[in-house]
Amino acid sequence: MSEEMSESGVVKKFMYVNRKAPYGTIYALESLEVVLIAAAFDQDVSLAFIDDGVYQVAKGQDTKSIGVKNFSSTYRALDDYDINKLYVQKESMEARGLTDKDFLVPVEIKTAAELSALMEQQDVLLSF
């Protein structure tokens, strides 16, 4: 399959739009699972964290007491797969009293306008 991709040489821009908080629902985790697979396909991948999605990459997550798997360290592994375009939406971050020091991975802070411009360039948008 990936051979076919290489042969065809198609490289599309994929953006994963994450708007939901972690743990309350599974979307953050299952979105991340798609991203990890996407890494094998040599596409142009970026992740946008908007609204409550910014909480997905918040530092210090400790799920021991809720008895649910803590998957936040997986975001740190993304860089090993050359996935390093992680965008946090500025207004969403600020509305939640967060700053660029509060994230567990390096992220770029983008205003809504900047992120809109990036979204416009995408071929495929995946939102969970």
Partner: protein, 119 residues
């Protein structure tokens, strides 16, 4: 005190079943009774024995089955909601039973408190 529990969402997708599980464990540890745990809406999906999550994650279905065995919990799956979603005796996990919505009303009547967990 007698608690009735209503779970309206399926496993993994929403935290409802996880929170309910922790609540039930804590209530039992305090010596309270669990009159019944009723599974409705997508909550019926907590009762499929075919679930097989990744090794490093909790098995929500088995956890309920084991707690039910240990404490003789009455885990009831709504038949109408279950048929709509493909849960039947064929794929029902241990410790669960399928019955009618009357069992939910009965829980409302017999339990001192009904606590609902959903989306």
């Amino acid at each position: 005190m007698k608690f009735g529990i209503l779970i309206n969402e399926g496993p993994y997708t929403h935290q409802a079943s996880d929170t309910a599980f922790q609540f039930v464990k804590a209530a039992l540890a305090k010596g309270h009774q669990i009159q019944r745990v009723f599974f409705y809406n997508d909550g019926v999906n907590n009762a499929t024995k075919l679930t097989d999550p990744p090794q490093d994650d909790r098995n929500i279905v088995n956890r309920w089955s084991e707690l039910a065995k240990e404490h003789k919990l009455d885990l009831v799956v709504c038949v109408a909601a279950a048929l709509r979603r493909g849960i039947r005796e064929d794929n029902l996990a241990a410790g669960f039973r399928i019955s009618g919505l009357g069992q939910l009303i009965e829980t409302g009547i017999q339990a001192d408190r009904l606590v609902t967990f959903g989306d």
